[in-house]
Symmetry: C2
Subunit: 180 residues, 2 copies
């Protein structure tokens, strides 16, 4: 079943904000901390809510690779995290399924590139485009050890250079460090 | 953008219920009328809410066929309608994208069968699986002239006999007639 995931930016939360960058499009209001839970906090500066959902592009051969190295969240060693909310363009959403798949994987190798980093970078994809009042399409969440942030930056650089990213019209990169 | 669509069952609404059948799984409480709008009614017996969304399986060649005969809702001649809420099994949602596509189209010809009826049967697919508290995955809506209900029944019979329908675990068929 789809699970609700809620990110709250504000003065409280399990993650300290190290850096918050508007990569493309409008920034999000700067906050000191981010919390990840299943319900909105009353005192949040911003609330980004969505759900985990079924796979939208991954083929069965690719799914077998992903399933062999499942993303584990909350590892004690994962002291760093990134929340990267993304909005794609109307042109992206108007494409047929096979056209979006072709850009995402055959042209951009999104799934293949991500698979190379499975062991070091845990991740969770939260869908929010279909949620009432959503201002992003996806909330992408990543956890990793501090020493693996360089790998995460490498992964991001590859994706941002891809054909798929021509359809990204808003992207905020929020880097986090576990509080306490 | 995704548009919110809300179906309310109760004593008020633009559509009189002619017949309400639990095809598979639990029934929905019987109501006299159904209303289709964008917000819940306070006095509704049940509220089913979702959003229109992007195509999930349709390929570009199929999209061209669909785009050539766009579904027009609210035609004066369309005095009949059907609301068919559907839930698919956990096994369906656990499949990879190419596996779901293969069942839906290569095995079941869902898009091709639907395309044969475009001129007579207007339809709208409302997604709700990813909505908080949703009890169905989809709310499928159809409008047609009274004389075309036989075509609609033929379309439904073909889909219900397909491989895809082995994954349908709940289906309620609500037939409607325009009130006044």
């Amino acid at each position: 079943m789809p699970d609700p995931i809620v990110f709250c930016g504000g003065v409280a939360g399990a993650w300290n904000v190290v850096r918050q960058t508007a990569e493309r499009g409008a920034p999000l209001e700067s906050v000191a901390r981010v919390d990840k839970s299943t319900r909105p906090a009353a005192d949040a500066v911003w609330v980004l809510a969505g759900v985990t959902s079924n796979l939208r592009y991954t083929h069965s051969t690719e799914k077998r690779v992903l399933d062999a190295t499942p993303s584990v969240l909350g590892r004690p060693s994962a002291r760093r995290a990134a929340l990267i909310p993304i909005t794609k363009s109307a042109a992206w959403w108007a494409l047929a399924q096979d056209e979006r798949r072709a850009v995402l994987e055959e042209q951009s190798r999104h799934i293949a590139i991500g698979s190379e980093y499975l062991a070091a970078i845990s991740r969770q994809l939260v869908h929010c485009r279909d949620q009432p009042g959503a201002i992003f399409d996806f909330l992408t969440w990543f956890e990793f050890a501090a020493t693996d942030e360089v790998l995460f930056d490498e992964l991001l650089a590859k994706l941002r250079a891809s054909a798929e990213w021509r359809f990204v019209e808003r992207e905020v990169d929020i880097r986090l460090e576990k509080a306490a």
